[in-house]
């Protein structure tokens, strides 16, 4: 057990207040000067079903979930579907205790609510406690909460108990509760927090476990943010004032943040009948000159395929975000996966003319969201932001200064009426909106209502004034111009140089990954290097147009590389091989698609056994796929 970090897991049933309690706990630790990172696991149910959130806290920066955890607060599932042990779904009531033991580290702490949980229902509980040197605190949190009038407050009692065992001063939690809770429930919560704290101190040995909260200090003010917060704020800072959508987990988080904030910013949010309409509305608003977005998760995004193609053909600026979850079909709605990569790259008929960005961290999510709007409007091209359930909901501390930026309402290559007057027109005054030439492939646009700007936008191939035209020369000229944008965008992104490489520059081995796996892989790379394996990682956060040069340079510099991604068919590796046309013999894959994100140790283990030692992977959580031809 590592004593330089606390990984606190609060487990209960959906609807038991696990998410809000853990968020407050994480924030209290952040305020105390620690770096925090959360990982949440929940079922797709309204009430009941085993759920947990992990809060990892350390004096040093943390950018991933850890390997297992060292403190369990098991609250019991008060909405359990069926308490019968022989039921198909098992004894749900006991799951918050039973389901979490496998990952609890040796010497760890278990606090369980004896008012709801009976350890005799957990197979071999006592033996396992003995074997693993776990420290168990059975406390009737439910009764404590009942005495204070509200059973749901057993969360707070549990936090009080946690503080007593780990030595967190209650004042840190109290301060946060005062900020977050309405008057009516504040007092009883403060009381129960104290009660939980006192009971443990009076009746139990709190010094037994070798576990305490580290102390740390931040150089500057920190914010606790999720990927969804960061994406929404990036959009707002780019002047996005129109969003249309339809609810779907996990994209709903961004949609909700935008919908709650746009009205007071004088913007418009529309919840509409389906995702076809949602994307079409964003196109309609953007066509009028407004910065607009839509988005969904895999299934909803499937419906957006045709409007997306319309935006490509009419060169309407558009930002669509896609929050991946495990598929196919309804799949596992609340579990992360990175299997929509090909879906987002290629959906819609015809040649793809789009940009796809995939931020790796919460801080990057803000940047990528802003970049998506800039590229979409500057180049009049749909830009996708691809992320997943993991990045969407994980909370981590980000320096406040990261968000202290200038806003940008610029709508790119859009002309004013004065500028329009100098542009080419047909004899009767129709504006040449789609000229064959155009710097970087961009032909400037007008907006309805402008004098001298009228043109026809159409999903058909069209001539400079926008009229349907199937002349082969015109077709090739228009197609080539639209494709030219991608080269210009690639050059811009190369200049930005935002791809993140981590590890020793002259490393022997490499790891390639994309999107939300970044932090976990980087932690694994650090550990591998500490253990004497020379390895570095490149996280590819730009997927279309693909950064061929950067990836080629990276792969040239290493003997062999492992491609890490959360899907079953190695989509990112396939994309890399297609784009490079070389290096296939150097690339093997480590995949995970069981609904849980990688732990750093799984990558360390996969890398060591397959790349360094050429052995067999233990267990079935991850899967290794050798290089093509191997």
């Amino acid at each position: 057990m590592s004593d330089d970090e606390l990984i606190w897991r609060i487990a209960g049933g959906s609807g038991d207040g696990i998410a809000s309690t853990s968020q407050n706990f994480a924030k209290a630790l952040m305020r105390s000067g620690l770096h925090v990172f959360t990982h949440r696991h929940y079922p797709s149910r309204i009430r009941g079903g085993h759920t947990y959130v992990e809060v990892r806290a350390s004096a040093d920066p943390v950018k991933s979930r850890g390997d297992g955890y060292n403190f369990l607060l098991a609250l019991g599932d008060s909405f359990a579907r069926n308490p019968q042990e022989e039921a198909y779904y098992g004894n749900e009531e006991a799951k918050p205790l039973a389901e979490n033991l496998d990952e609890l580290r040796e010497g760890g702490v278990i606090v369980y609510d004896s008012g709801l949980l009976d350890p005799s229902e957990v197979p071999n509980f006592d033996e396992r406690v003995e074997e693993n040197d776990w420290h168990v605190y059975d406390i009737d949190l439910r009764s404590l909460a009942r005495e204070q009038g509200r059973e749901v407050m057993r969360n707070t009692a549990g936090v009080g108990v946690t503080c007593a065992i780990t030595g967190i001063p209650l004042s840190a939690i109290e301060e946060l509760m005062r900020d977050a809770m309405p008057e009516k429930i504040l007092e009883p919560n403060l009381e129960i927090l104290q009660t939980g704290y006192d009971i443990v101190n009076e009746e139990y040995d709190v010094d037994a476990p070798d576990i305490s909260v580290p102390t740390g200090e931040h150089d500057e003010e920190q914010l606790l943010m999720s990927g969804s917060d960061a994406i929404a704020y990036g959009a707002i800072d780019e002047g996005c004032r129109f969003i249309a959508g339809y609810p779907m987990t996990p994209w709903t988080e961004v949609f909700t943040i935008m919908s709650q904030n746009l009205p007071e910013l004088g913007g418009i949010s529309e919840q509409v009948e389906d995702e076809i309409a949602a994307a079409a509305l964003a196109i309609g608003a953007s066509h009028m000159g407004v910065k607009a977005m839509s988005g969904s998760s895999g299934g909803g995004f499937a419906l957006m395929g045709e409007p997306l193609g319309l935006a490509e053909m009419t060169e309407t600026p558009l930002v669509l975000i896609e929050a991946m979850r495990a598929g196919p079909s309804t799949g596992m709605p609340t579990k992360p996966e990175q299997a929509d990569l090909e879906h987002v790259l290629y959906t819609s008929q015809g040649d793809s003319q789009r940009v796809v960005l995939a931020p790796g961290t919460v801080a990057e999510a803000y940047e990528a969201s802003r970049r998506a709007f800039q590229l979409a409007y500057e180049y009049q091209i749909p830009t996708m932001l691809l992320y997943d359930q993991k990045l969407s909901g994980e909370l981590t501390n980000v320096p406040a200064s990261h968000f202290d930026r200038e806003p940008n309402g610029d709508i790119g290559m859009t002309l004013t009426e004065d500028e329009l007057a100098d542009q080419p027109h047909t004899g009767d005054g129709k504006f040449h909106r789609f000229q064959h030439e155009g710097e970087n492939g961009v032909s400037p646009r007008s907006v309805p209502g402008q004098k001298g700007g009228r043109f026809l936008a159409t999903g058909n191939e069209h001539n400079p004034a926008g009229h349907i035209d199937e002349d082969p020369d015109n077709r090739v000229a228009q197609m080539n111009r639209r494709q030219r944008k991608l080269d210009a965008i690639r050059a811009d992104l190369d200049d930005d140089g935002l791809l993140v490489e981590h590890g020793p520059e002259n490393a022997e081995y490499g790891i390639l990954t994309f999107g939300s796996q970044q932090g976990t892989v980087e932690e694994a790379v650090d550990r591998l290097n500490e253990d004497g394996t020379s390895v570095k990682v490149l996280t590819v956060s730009e997927l279309a147009p693909y950064p061929v040069k950067a990836v080629r340079t990276f792969l040239d510099s290493v003997e062999e590389a492992l491609v890490v991604e959360m899907n079953a068919s190695a989509q990112f590796r396939g994309l890399t091989q297609k784009e490079l046309g070389t290096h296939g013999e150097k690339l093997s894959s480590l995949l995970k698609y069981n609904g849980n994100p990688f732990e750093p140790a799984e990558i360390v283990e996969g890398f060591s056994t397959k790349i360094v030692d050429d052995g067999e992977l233990p267990g079935n959580e991850t899967k290794f796929v050798p290089a093509a031809g191997d």
Binding site: G266, E273, Q450, A457, G466
Partner: protein, 312 residues
């Protein structure tokens, strides 16, 4: 000052301004009802004083979608069934622009039926023209949602087993605040109804009977027709929902019996448009959103100033 000087311009508008030099002659088949829509629209737009550059015509796919090519204005020829969501957002983004959506019966009542229902329900301030020829024309004569029961086509070799959709009743039930039917053979009535529809503050749906002489030969030319607002045979108040509902049903049945009834069936001038509803609850700015992006002095709000505190 508005960045859109075409909007609200006070001047005489000539119907010829709507004829594009690029495609002055439509390529619809001779005798096609679509000519009637184009003609009446070119007549109605100057009457309501709207110029080509303050008008956005949004179409779907089909013969009807070609309307954009033959009417010179700002145009958006979208995809099959999706004219309404594009048009709706355009209107929200800049309510000062005159927004007209158009498409065929397959486009509006079939593939885009969901959008039709919801756009009517929300009562967006726009005019929606459905070219109803009871057939799929551009794809060469397949059975459409308004084809009569028993209609034989290459895709329905034994005759359609389906009862046709009831476009007027559906519109009323969904919430449209102006519902009319007109016919291409009656351009004067069509022009009058189009003008009323554009002047109406809310969702105005016009089921426009457009005969298809190529693929629906045995179908009628929609003559003779009766104007229910003028005929002495119909004592009827279009502001009365119950009366409208009854007459719509009769009209829909009679079409398939060879009797063509047309006119304004329903109008509710008191119902607020979607824009008004949204502004009422503080979810839409008073100034057109589109203007903001052309205002160099606008001070864009920052998330840092607004939302950061709750993350501390």
């Amino acid at each position: 000052m508005s960045a859109f000087s075409a909007i609200g311009e006070e001047r005489e508008v000539d119907r010829d301004e709507y004829t594009p030099e690029i495609e002055p002659q439509p390529t619809w088949c001779p005798g096609c009802g679509d000519f009637g829509v184009l003609k009446s629209l070119k007549g109605a737009l100057p009457e309501v004083g709207r110029t080509p550059e303050e008008t956005l015509l949004v179409t779907g796919i089909g013969c009807s979608g070609k309307l954009n090519s033959y009417l010179d204005s700002y145009g958006f020829h979208t995809i099959h069934g999706r004219s309404l969501p594009v048009a709706r957002a355009a209107k929200l983004a800049n309510p000062d622009v005159e927004v007209i959506a158009a498409g065929g019966d397959g486009d509006g009542y079939g593939i885009g039926g969901n959008h039709f229902m919801h756009t009517a329900r929300e009562n967006h301030d726009m005019t929606y023209i459905v070219f109803n020829n009871e057939i799929f024309g551009l794809t060469k004569g397949q059975t459409s949602p308004t084809s009569p029961k028993g209609h034989k086509s290459k895709t329905q070799p034994h005759g359609s087993a389906k009862t046709p959709i009831r476009p007027l009743s559906m519109s009323l039930t969904s919430g449209a605040s102006f519902v009319a039917r007109t016919a291409a053979v009656n351009p004067n009535q069509a022009q009058r109804i189009l003008k009323e529809a554009m002047e109406h503050d809310g969702f105005a749906h016009i089921d426009f009977l457009t005969q298809c002489p190529t693929w629906n030969k045995d179908a009628k030319q929609y003559v003779p027709y009766t104007d229910i607002n003028e005929s002495d045979d119909y004592d009827f108040d279009p502001t009365n929902r119950a009366e409208a509902q009854e007459l719509m049903r009769e009209t829909e049945d009679k079409l398939y019996e060879g009797e063509v009834l047309t006119g304004v069936y329903y109008r509710d001038d008191d119902r607020p448009s979607y824009q008004q509803e949204k502004q009422e609850i503080g979810e839409m700015p008073d100034e057109p959103l589109a203007e903001r992006y052309f205002d160099d002095d606008y001070e864009w709000e920052r998330s840092y100033d607004r939302f950061i505190d709750k993350h501390k």
